[in-house]
């Protein structure tokens, strides 16, 4: 490609293609954004943008951010997501370190198990988990969601991290020790900085996984005590029994999309690397 001179026509061609893709990716998101700024009567107007903008779906007495119906689930989502991500990344790091650096029988079994769980149909867990968690008193609690989220975050964590760990030049650790560093210093000064990007990437991916999860979130919760934001949206009630609270739902959808946009904009390279490094280096 480098040898080919680009003509203006080519530029226009590629530029148009880019624009089409960007538009296709963004229009559905912009639609949600637009809906969230429509007044309750204007949601019944199919025009793409609101004719009259309002914050009332977000703030004021009618807004989702002034009701515990949404704020509490939002906090649940953040709390459950962070805790599950933390535990999953810690456990996954240990396992990934072993996978990447140590020789031991059963490694293949571990990889296979993680692969199986990554492909596991979540619905198959719903019925037994509903029953088990009721018996154990975990139903409708944070741990009741954190535990399965950790389990489903682990395969992702183990695979991504072991790919990253394999890239770390571990000889540097030895070199540092030769240069007089203590093992602790060697780890904190040399290895940890090298491992950090992988950990950050993995944490983002695992957090997105938890943030996105819906089936377990609606199945293993019954109140806002533990219901996460995506699940709570499905339980919004409208101003009358048969009106659908379109505006608030759209606003809530926008709110839970914001962290994703932030991650994507600031960590685009990281996420892409995390998702594809293995496929490249296979």
């Amino acid at each position: 490609m480098a040898t080919v001179k680009t003509t203006p026509r080519q530029k226009v061609g590629w530029g148009t293609a880019n624009l089409v893709v960007i538009a296709l990716a963004l229009i559905p998101v912009l639609w949600l954004l637009s809906l969230s700024f429509k007044t309750p009567t204007a949601v019944l107007d199919p025009s793409f943008w609101p004719k009259q903008w309002t914050w009332s779906n977000y703030f004021r007495s009618t807004g989702i951010l002034s009701t515990s119906q949404f704020i509490r689930p939002l906090l649940n989502s953040i709390g459950i997501g962070l805790i599950a991500t933390f535990i999953a990344v810690v456990l996954a790091s240990m396992a990934a370190y072993a996978v990447a650096r140590l020789r031991f029988p059963g490694k293949g079994l571990l990889i296979g198990m993680a692969l199986l769980i990554a492909m596991f149909p979540v619905i198959s867990l719903v019925t037994p988990m509903f029953s088990i968690e009721r018996a154990l008193g975990l139903f409708n609690t944070w741990p009741g969601l954190i535990i399965p989220y950790v389990a489903f975050g682990l395969p992702l964590g183990i695979y991504t991290l072991s790919a990253f760990f394999r890239e770390i030049p571990w000889e540097l650790e030895k070199a540092a020790k030769v240069d007089g560093a203590t093992p602790f210093q060697a780890f904190t000064k040399v290895i940890a900085p090298l491992a950090a990007p992988g950990m950050v990437t993995t944490s983002i991916l695992v957090f997105l996984l938890c943030w996105n999860e819906f089936l377990l979130a609606i199945s293993l919760t019954s109140t806002t005590a533990s219901r996460t934001a995506p699940a709570s949206i499905a339980y919004f009630s409208g101003s009358s029994q048969f009106t659908v609270p379109t505006g608030p739902i759209a606003a809530a959808a926008v709110v839970i999309t914001i962290p994703i946009i932030i991650f994507v904009v600031f960590f685009q390279r990281r996420i892409v690397a995390g998702l594809t490094s293995g496929a490249v280096k296979g």
Partner: protein, 445 residues
């Protein structure tokens, strides 16, 4: 459901599973009767067995989202009347009746102690009773709950000869017709279809509006038809399917309507609100629907309103009054409530005559206390009160079984679209599917 005037007309909804037979319109009404509601509940003095707690106990009351303000008013009245023994906290359930049931059922399955009073759709009582989630009513509470309450409403709250809830409000369908097109309302289904076909030949508005989508409303239609033909879906203990000849008769009429020129082309997707809109739009001559259509017509199409009349639901067997399916909400006390004694009292208060009158006038939901139908405070908003009462007293109850949800879904899937009914074949498949459902062998789609 009927309240859904503001619902986008064709919005895809969960059928079968979702709709409540609850009166309409939680629309605000001019509050004529509010001031006159000076009746005080009878037995409130006797409450307060729950010991020497200091402040008032908070009772959590789970009910559909009532935005008319009637429920809030009732709660305020009861808090006040309790003399500081309890305060009721209104916890709104989700919109659809499917969501409401799921919400309650999940918490009951987890033995949630924070629920005290539950507003149950009239089809859920058997389920909540059999599972042990609703506390039985006994003694003075039971006597007070039964006193003066409409028999069929009470029927919905009874399971295995035991009362598990107190009827709060009710509902039933009437025949609405255009007096400019039909001078004399038809008394039977055969007559109504013939009238409509006649109008069709004359090129006049002629459609018969009824619920035909795959959802609870269509199960209601079927239940009404079977009961009016002298049959029932299940036997009294819900151990056997009892469809037989009356069901075949009912199915033939439903099929006859669906394949005649009287059928709305969109019958297979129609729910109560679509029927209302069609009649307001001027294409229909008849409508089988809940009373919420009356104030709606008044507001939306004053010209047609002049000719908008009502009559009793048409008969299936000439000369035998139709047995129309009853709807509404019953209040139950949770078996896991930690304040059961107070919860019984509060439930009785919430549905006492004063509060039912408010609910009827403000919230548009017909009362379950028979004497209220002769209370002039009701007449302004219920010019059809006499016909409603007549139907309610002779109403039919949907099959009472813990697995009603499955039964209803099976029925609505077999009879919708109604033009696809094959009376004997449909009856046979229904028997086999319902038998499976009763043995917990059935699948719900």
């Amino acid at each position: 459901m009927m309240a859904g005037r503001d619902r986008p007309p064709m919005r895809p909804q969960r059928p079968a599973k979702c709709r409540r037979l609850l009166p309409g319109g939680r629309r605000r009404r001019t509050v004529a009767g509010l001031a006159t509601a000076g009746l005080l509940a009878a037995g409130l003095a006797a409450c307060g067995t729950s010991g020497a707690s200091t402040g008032p106990v908070t009772l959590n009351f789970y009910l559909y989202p009532d935005n008319s303000g009637a429920t809030q008013t009732a709660i305020k009245n009861c808090d006040h009347q309790s003399g500081g023994k309890y305060t009721i906290s209104y916890q709104k359930l989700p919109n659809g009746s499917d969501g409401q049931r799921q919400q309650l059922v999940r918490r009951m399955a987890a033995h949630d102690p924070t629920i005290d009073i539950m507003g149950l759709d009239v089809t859920w009582e058997a389920e909540f009773a059999q599972a042990g989630w609703a506390a039985p009513w006994t003694g003075a509470n039971k006597a007070q709950a039964e006193n003066g309450t409409l028999k069929p409403s009470l029927q919905t709250a009874i399971w295995h000869n035991q009362l598990y809830a107190v009827p709060d409000n009710t509902n039933t369908q009437l025949l609405w017709y255009r007096s400019d097109l039909v001078p004399k309302p038809p008394a039977t289904w055969a007559q109504m279809i013939a009238d409509a076909e006649q109008l069709a030949k004359q090129g006049k508005p002629h459609l018969i509006e009824i619920q035909g989508a795959q959802y609870e409303g269509t199960t209601v239609w079927f239940n009404t038809m079977v009961a009016s033909a002298g049959g029932s879906v299940l036997n009294a203990d819900a151990t056997k399917v009892t469809l037989s000849t009356p069901a075949i008769k009912a199915l033939s009429i439903m099929k006859q309507l669906a394949t005649s020129s009287a059928a709305d082309p969109s019958l297979p997707v129609q729910m109560e609100n679509d029927n209302r809109l069609a009649m307001e739009g001027g294409t229909a001559a008849f409508q089988l629907n809940y009373p919420f259509v009356y104030p709606a017509m008044k507001a939306d199409n004053p010209k047609l309103f002049k000719h908008f009349k009502w009559a009793l639901y048409p008969e299936v067997i000439p000369g035998v009054p139709a047995k129309v399916t009853i709807g509404g909400i019953d209040l139950a006390v949770s078996a896991y409530s930690q304040h059961q004694a107070l919860a019984f009292q509060a439930a009785l208060c919430l549905r006492d005559a004063q509060n039912q009158l408010i609910a009827a006038n403000v919230g548009g939901v017909p009362p379950t206390i028979a004497s209220l139908y002769s209370n002039p405070a009701l007449f302004a908003n219920y010019p059809f009160h006499a016909d409603i009462l007549k139907e309610l007293e002779n109403a039919s109850v949907r099959p009472k079984t813990p697995v009603y949800q499955v039964v209803s879904i099976d029925i609505s899937h077999l009879i919708s679209p109604p033009s696809g009914i094959n009376p004997t074949g449909t009856e046979r498949s229904m028997i086999s599917q319902l038998n499976n459902a009763l043995q917990s062998k059935g699948l719900v789609p």
